[in-house]
Amino acid sequence: MRKVLVIAVRDYLATVRTKGFIISLALMPILMSGGYLAQILLGGEIDVRERHFAVVDRSPGGELAELLRKESDERNRTGPVDPQTGKPQPPFTIEVVPPGADGSTEGRKRQRFQLSERVRNQELYGFMEILPEVFDVPKSPPADPAEAAARLAQEEAPLRYQSNHPLDDLFPKWADKLVNEGVQRRRLDRADITARTVATVKGILTPVRFDSKDLARKDPKTGDIVDSPEENRMLSIMAPFGLLVLMFMIVMVGATPLMQGVVEEKMLRIAEVLLGSVRPFQLMLGKLLGTVGVSLTLVAVYLGGAYLLAQKYGYAEHLPLAVVSWFLAYQVLSVILYGSLFIAIGAACTDMKEAQSLMWPVMVLAVLPMMVGFVVIKEPNSSFATWASFFPPATPMLMMARQAVPPGIAIWQPVLGIVLMLLATLVCVYAAGRIFRVGILMQGKGAKVGEIVRWVIRG
């Protein structure tokens, strides 16, 4: 056991003392939140060069196209900005294209193609087409949703926009609103409804305001019963998600260097010297212990920091001590489980390149729980979430996330999860030990999958 500890300490220091580790310790949270920050900071940034659009108005009178042209001139004159953020927006110029002489379906299609070609040639950014039926009041849709959908699919929409910028909705939204206002005015006129009636009806039809809140609680100072602050709702999602991401990160940062370490020891023939002093299984155990140490260091920094902050700023209920303790148990087991897999891969390969191509199945095992994480957090008690969280490689991430979503889950579930993980971890360590024993001294060529399986079965 003393020798195992000597190896564990060396491995631990070899990882923790590197500049890379210290830098990634500091950078990881920045990188993780960096994407989110960048979106906030740069989200409003758009291309403000002038955009040129064509409008074909087939409606009687063609007044809607004119309306758009006038409004765009007005918009350009005042300097177009986003009304919410105040950030500048591109000016629109509108070319009113008269409908072709051939108003038949074929004729319309031909005109659409011509305009599409102009968009492809970058003469236009996009084009809008208003059909003659635009002012007709639609018949109320059938009660049966399937029938309603069928009818919608048959009929052509009276207002259409075509472009090759599918994600950009700046112009279509702006134009849609203006056209609809114009259409509404005309329809009201036609139905002979007065402005006053319109105002009354509008008031009547305004939807009832609806608010979704967190649970009520007593203010610790005044004893008054108050609503929880709005950000609490976000936090009850953030905590499980954060724990899930942290678990994934720790497995990746903590366990993957094991593979690198084993390949290095093989390539530099260090393994041979070590095996002159310790048995292969002791060597592997020492390395796993060292990695558990590394992962605990990461947890102490991140989770410890988060816990203290939560205590200090009154969010303690989102990160209870029980959840933190479970996290530690899962994290130790998952580092050993994934670590032994990475050690086995390292021992079976002769260089990093080979090891990297062999590691993807393990990576998939680790990434899958991340991918379904959101679904599981949203519905932590669905049968999918429950079953998935009993799959040992996914247990640390998914069970943890489910436990962190209020009000938590029945206690037998994490207990069973831990027992299953313990068994899986023992199996992995046993199999990895057998692969390690043979592989660590192999030089020259990597092992084939068949050989690795044989080592596990026959030793």
Binding site: K3, V6, R10, L268, R269, I270, V273, G276, V278, L441
Partner: protein, 314 residues
């Protein structure tokens, strides 16, 4: 007491037999040299003694122990290729290996060894900064830092300059004077002749020589003539009773048939030039090695070649 007892050990890798029915006894307190061509089974034998590999058949007892791992802390092993963590400092790597062998406070011993090998100023440098020879010396210190009773050195002299070879040589002799048993493999025959109490040669997995240098040479008899003639390039073909002529530049080595008469050779040489050196001697270890390991390139004399095979032990 024997330091190592190997009994009828066989080790195969797939279809390749690396060590074939090998028996060998290494007396305690001796220096035992392992020689043999590349790929003949030296390293496999050393690894089996270290229990890094396990024999398919046969038994190996080390320092009286046959159980796995019981004697590891009493053994030091220097593998053929350097096994040092590149990113660690020299002192740290030595402390690590010392601790692995159960040495708790090894700092003084480490400093002593570093000073002795002229490495004191490198103690706090990273291993990757060392030259090959320096790394070799560090590896040697790591091997002996825990004062092992049995030291296994796989090609310890490769990559060392003559000065460092000398220092290492002295260290090996000192280990023996302190009572340790030293087994080392080498391709340097002169070093083996100089250092070893016993020589063991393995060829294609089988033992072909085992004994003291003198007993091995005695088996071959005095069949070698060292000759120097004035005027280089004189042809030495067609001499009576000479099997093979090896040109070493400064002198030529003539191998005689079993019953050849050295005087007759001298008589045949005299008309060809002025003989400045004529010496009848036993073959060198180098010569014996080559005779065994390259029998096919020699002139045809099957009887002569068999001398070296199998039954060489007196």
């Amino acid at each position: 007491m024997h330091a190592v007892e190997i009994e009828q050990v066989t080790k195969t890798f797939g279809s390749h037999t690396a060590v074939d029915d090998l028996s060998l006894t290494v007396p305690a307190g001796s220096i035992y040299g392992f020689i043999g061509p590349n790929g003949s089974g030296k390293t496999t034998t050393l690894r089996m003694i270290m229990r890094i590999l396990h024999p398919d058949r046969g038994t190996i007892r080390i320092l009286g122990e046959s159980t796995l791992g019981a004697a590891t802390d009493r053994v030091g092993y220097l593998p053929e290729e350097r096994g040092l963590y590149k990113q660690m400092k020299v002192r740290d790597v030595l402390r690590f290996y010392a601790e692995l062998k159960g040495v708790r406070r090894g700092r003084a011993a480490i400093d002593d060894w570093l000073a002795r090998f002229d490495l004191a100023e490198w103690a706090n440098k990273k291993v990757e900064a060392l030259s090959k020879g320096m790394a070799q010396k560090v590896q040697f210190i790591a091997t002996v830092i825990h004062r092992p009773e049995l030291v296994l050195l796989d090609e310890p002299f490769s990559g060392l300059d003559p000065v460092n070879s000398e220092v290492l040589c002295e260290a090996v002799l000192e280990l023996r004077s302190q009572g340790a048993t030293v087994i080392f493999s080498t391709h340097d025959m002169a070093m083996a002749e100089k250092l070893c109490d016993f020589i063991f040669m393995i060829y294609q997995g089988r033992k072909v020589l085992d004994g003291t240098l003198q007993s091995i040479r005695d088996t071959y008899g005095s069949d070698t003539l060292r000759v120097r003639l004035e005027g280089n390039g004189a042809a030495l073909n067609g001499l009576p009773g000479v099997l093979k002529v090896a040109d070493f530049g400064q002198w030529k080595e003539l191998r005689l048939q079993r019953d050849a008469d050295a005087q007759a050779v001298l008589a045949a040489l005299l008309p060809r030039g002025r003989v400045t050196h004529f010496e009848l001697s036993q073959p060198s270890l180098h010569d014996i090695f080559v005779r065994i390991a390259r029998p096919l390139t020699l002139p045809s004399s099957p009887e002569g070649e068999r001398v070296g095979w199998g039954g060489a032990r007196p």
